[in-house]
């Protein structure tokens, strides 16, 4: 019922024009907007700001790793007592890696990525006037905003932000005396995450109901673009897994503040016997990774969806194996719930359990491989147009391959014994998740910028941005594999105390400079982004000659997305370079009756009447030729 009401709402609004009951004020247009297109931009800008912040944090700790013996007076000026005498303190180093990871994983690649593109693309690509519940959608953004503020505010706390790693394993995170960051900073971290999860749930429920209930006429599930499939399954994963993290976080809050022992047992801290008994630190890890593993797919699946779309549009070819792409997304979604134990092989969990998780983990590599091969096949014999978005999508595939392959090492419990928590893991997830997802996101930003801001981004700056970032990321993360294989642990403040690790110092210096270069390259993006919003070249209706519905909506943003009726969908989103058609694309809202010369029997698989028409037309053509 409610979905119908929303439909009508849009139509009514359009017909009555501006006499609608709620007036457009500054507040409800630019701040508390309920328009999905505007909310998407809010998510994007917040996400980009958070990304820059987290990137600066990473540069700070990279400086420490490259120059563990040097002093940098400006660090003291910048960070005060967190960096006494020109050197980042060991405690603050831990805070840096923790908050860098948290912001990148949750605030940038979950909220910034899904929030932006689910909001922008789901209604526009399925043909809906807005989200199922625009109000809840607005709340979703503001909860995210509040979560961001709380997370950042932890830098203002005397003892510093949370510092137990982004996975916040108790007892370290549960005992305020165990490290400074486990005091107020950790409290703020937990509050921020609760707000964040609330935001994710509100967003996710909206995305799911919009996809399920509000598709335009003709848009059956198997005609949806892969972006929508990916964003939809991502939302399902989020809704099923984030509540488990809430449970874990609430129990942790109890342990911290109310003296319970869910995660604590047999503890002697700084010589003081603690009263906790009977809890299990491993329980938290189970709860955390039950979210944590689906979470990494929550991050990568939207990137996969966006890249699939960008690759198809710019290769001027249908995505290869559309059905296989959808089934592999579904397979990944289902399997991602039963592999979490691969993060816990060496926790002392029963070895048999480890064996089982190893089997499920390596199974998940199969759908991942299928997706990769299908992307390659999409490029094969294409007519590739190198827009910046296309380059980023290609980069995404390259990173996904490089990082995914190391997953096969880590997923093997026997190999993980020696690789767990080393730089090998850091290399693995920064390539497969960090870099691949950021590249998917950037591909999306470059591709849909005209839809969001009605202007084009500068291509040449995009090229510069791409190559510097792409090469930079490989230079940063590729050598880390070998550090990991030499047994160099992650989350170490310095490697100066280990004779065997000193020879990696030159590599660390190299990595830091590569990271700084890649960081500076982001300025090209920031400039391009801001400059193009105001002064970019105006876009045309369909700048990339793409098939999906969002490019049929007027360039001017209107509440309700389309003037008059929403277009009807007749075909899938990937009729690119179809033989027999004069142009190399056929938008989804073009009926088969207008494209007789390019129709294939295959197009009418579930439409016998259409097939008959098609057969007749073909016969007539043959007769025609015979007469001539």
């Amino acid at each position: 019922m409610s979905t119908l009401a929303v439909h009508d709402h849009g139509v009514v609004h359009h017909e009555e024009g501006h006499e609608h009951h709620h007036k457009a004020t500054f507040l409800n247009t630019y701040v508390f907007s309920q328009d999905h297109k505007y909310i998407a931009k809010q998510f994007l800008v917040t996400g980009i700001i958070m990304a820059f912040f987290a990137m600066v944090l990473s540069i700070l700790f990279r400086i420490q790793l490259a120059y563990p013996d040097k002093t940098f007076p400006f660090l003291t000026t910048l960070l005060g007592h967190f960096a006494p005498n020109g050197r980042i303190s060991a405690d603050f180093y831990m805070s840096l890696v923790t908050i860098h990871g948290t912001i990148m994983v949750f605030f940038v690649l979950t909220a910034g990525l899904s929030g932006t593109f689910a909001n922008l693309l789901i209604p526009l690509q399925v043909g809906a006037r807005d989200m199922a519940s625009p109000f809840v959608n607005m709340l979703s953004y503001w909860f995210f905003f509040a979560a961001s503020i709380v997370m950042l505010s932890s830098f203002l706390v005397e003892k510093g932000p949370a510092s137990g790693g982004w996975t916040i394993y108790p007892p370290l995170s549960a005992l305020p005396k165990a490290m400074p960051g486990s005091g107020m900073g950790m409290t703020l971290w937990l509050i921020s995450m609760v707000l964040f999860i609330a935001s994710q749930l509100m967003g996710g429920i909206n995305y799911i109901s919009t996809v399920l209930n509000m598709r335009t006429k003709g848009m059956d599930l198997w005609k949806m673009p892969l972006t929508v499939w990916a964003l939809f399954l991502t939302a399902v994963l989020g809704v099923l897994s984030f509540p488990v993290l809430v449970a874990g976080v609430v129990l942790l809050i109890f342990d911290r503040s109310f003296g319970t022992s869910f995660y604590l047992s047999d503890i002697v801290l700084n010589g003081q016997v603690q009263p906790y008994e009977g809890g299990s630190p491993i329980l938290f890890q189970h709860l955390f990774w039950f979210l944590g593993h689906p979470e990494v797919y929550i991050i990568i699946m939207p990137a996969m969806g966006l890249s699939s779309e960008v690759l198809a549009v710019n290769s001027r070819k249908p995505i290869f194996g559309y059905h296989a792409m959808v089934y592999s997304l579904i397979g990944i979604s289902v399997l991602s719930f039963i592999v979490w134990g691969h993060h816990m092989f060496v926790t002392g969990m029963n070895p048999f359990l480890g064996g089982v998780f190893m089997i499920t983990t390596l199974i998940i590599a199969v759908p991942s491989a299928v997706k990769t091969f299908n992307w390659l096949a999409t490029l094969w014999r294409g007519n590739i147009r190198f827009t910046p978005a296309m380059l980023f999508a290609i980069g995404m595939v390259s990173f996904f391959i490089s990082g995914g392959l190391t997953g096969i090492f880590l997923g093997n419990a026997a190999l993980d014994i020696n690789l767990h928590d080393t730089y090998f893991v850091v290399a693995h997830f920064h390539l497969v998740m960090g870099s691949a997802a950021i590249f998917g996101m950037l591909a999306g930003v470059y591709h849909w910028f005209p839809k969001m801001y009605r202007r084009m981004m500068d291509e040449r700056l995009g090229y510069l941005h791409f190559w510097l970032t792409f090469i930079g990321a490989y230079l940063v993360f590729f050598p880390m594999h070998f550090m990991g294989l030499d047994g160099v642990p992650r989350r170490y403040y310095a490697f100066t105390e280990f004779e065997s690790m000193k020879r990696w110092l030159t590599v660390n210096v190299f990595i830091t400079w590569a990271a700084i270069m890649a960081g500076i390259a982001q300025l090209a993006f920031a400039y391009n982004f801001i400059h193009s919003i105001f002064w970019g070249k105006k876009t045309v209706q369909n700048p990339w000659n793409a098939n999906t519905l969002e490019w049929t909506a007027p360039i001017e943003h209107i509440h309700g997305n389309w003037h008059g009726e929403i277009p009807t969908v007749y075909r899938w989103a990937y009729d690119y370079s179809k033989p027999g058609h004069d142009e190399d694309f056929i938008p989804q809202n073009v009926p088969f009756s207008q494209t007789m010369s390019s129709n294939l029997p295959h197009d009418f698989e579930d439409n016998p009447a259409g097939l008959e028409e098609h057969a007749k037309w073909v016969d007539a053509q043959k007769a025609n030729v015979a007469v001539k």
């Binding site: 400006f74 060991a90 490290m179 400074p180 801290l269 630190p281 194996g321 490089s402 014994i417 767990h420």
Partner: protein
């Protein structure tokens, strides 16, 4: 227009050179003044920061100018009726260049940096893990090179051309089945071997070792406890922990009496060692990469790892031609500010060396602890421990 820009860029080049000179001076000044953070230093610091910011700005201006030049060139070409810059071709060629440079770089990294990784394993099960690793590496590298070559190769070969239309190929069930089944088979093989290797390494039916040692982690050190003459470690209870009895060993139990503490983890070669792993405050991880051993130390969840050292430290030093080589045990789970320096030397020695070493180790039950526990006969049992601990502590 274009000419003017060029002059401009010459100017900036001169600027750039000046900055570089200035900057080196600046850096020199800083290194000499390092250490004493005075007010003068602060001034130098800000110039240093300003210098870096300016450098970035100059870089940005250069990029801007190059961009403008390209644009002007592009426009003039178009005005003369020629085709402008074909970015599709340029990017396609860039992909090809990246492919070649990348293949070279990846191979270089694999050979040079790959050569800096851990030496051959010093334990019996390490060989199993390493051969598993080699198999996986070979298989994944093949896939890595083929797929990356395809990716950038296709990008280069099928770059845009106005003359061509893309090949309409929505799907091909045969080939899709092939590339689902082949990875599935390869992964099944890896899983099966991995599973059995894992079972063998973590073997949970064989629980006993020839030698039992307790390793306990706390912020930020490892405590090592040997079982003494009876070959049995006494039980611990965290509630008994005091400054003299950090581990909380329960001395109501007779097995505790002869336990010994040590600073180095000394292990006899070719004997099955069982490391019992405990943590007192937060999670730590016992990591001994040379033996391919790792297991977390979790408060309230005692665990153990069984393995057999096969190469003595001395032999390893000869093999690596590194007289300073030591096996190490270090922490590999974030545990606080001191996480990065929580190590113990592990030394693998011959049977005879082990016995003479263990005889020299202090009893855990030292005099202070005796006083604390009100044990009457302060001196005698400690001596007797020394006397009997000359035999290898065998676990019954």
């Amino acid at each position: 227009m274009g000419f003017k820009q060029l002059i401009n860029s010459k100017k900036t080049q001169a600027f750039f050179a000046a900055f570089v000179l200035f900057g080196t001076n600046q850096l020199m000044a800083q290194t000499s003044a390092e250490g004493n953070a005075t007010a003068v230093d602060k001034g130098a610091m800000w110039t240093g920061v300003a210098y870096n910011v300016l450098l970035i700005l100059v870089g940005a201006v250069c990029v801007g100018i190059v961009g403008k030049i390209l644009k002007v060139y592009d426009l003039t070409q178009k005005m003369q009726g020629k085709r402008g810059i074909n970015w599709n071709t340029i990017m396609g060629v860039c992909c090809a260049i990246f492919l070649i440079a990348g293949l070279y770089g990846a191979s270089w990294s694999l050979i040079v940096q790959g050569g800096m990784t851990l030496p051959q394993p010093g334990s019996a099960h390490g060989g199993l893990i390493d051969s598993m690793f080699t198999t996986t590496t070979i298989l994944t590298l093949i896939v890595f090179f083929i797929t990356q070559i395809c990716l950038f190769g296709f990008a280069f070969f099928y770059r845009n051309s106005a003359k061509r239309k893309a090949h309409f190929l929505p799907h091909n069930n045969t080939i899709e089945k092939i590339w689902t089944i082949i990875p599935a088979i390869v992964l099944t093989i890896l899983v099966v071997f991995g599973f059995f290797t894992w079972q063998k390494v973590m073997n949970s039916t064989e629980q006993k070792g020839d030698l039992n040692v307790d390793v306990t982690g706390h912020q930020f050190a490892w405590e090592i406890r040997y079982p003494g003459a009876d070959g049995k470690l006494g039980p611990v209870n965290f509630k008994l922990s005091t400054p003299n009895n950090v581990l909380g060993v329960d001395f109501k139990d007779r097995r505790s009496m002869d336990d010994q503490s040590a600073d180095t983890l000394v292990l006899p070669v070719n004997r099955v060692v069982r490391i019992n792993i405990h943590a007192q405050d937060v999670i730590h991880s016992v990591y001994m990469p040379h033996f391919r051993v790792q297991l977390n130390a979790v408060p309230g969840l005692p665990t153990f790892f069984r393995f057999t050292p096969t190469i003595t430290t001395e032999e390893m030093r000869k093999k690596l031609d590194d007289p300073k080589f030591e096996y190490l045990l270090y922490c590999n789970k974030i545990c606080g500010a001191g996480h990065w320096n929580m190590q113990r030397v592990v030394r693998v020695v011959s049977q005879a060396e082990y016995q003479s070493w263990i005889a020299r180790q202090k009893p855990y039950l030292n005099d202070q602890l005796r006083k604390e526990l009100h044990f009457a006969d302060a001196a005698t049992p400690a001596n007797s421990v020394k006397a009997v601990s000359n035999t290898l502590a065998l676990n019954k």
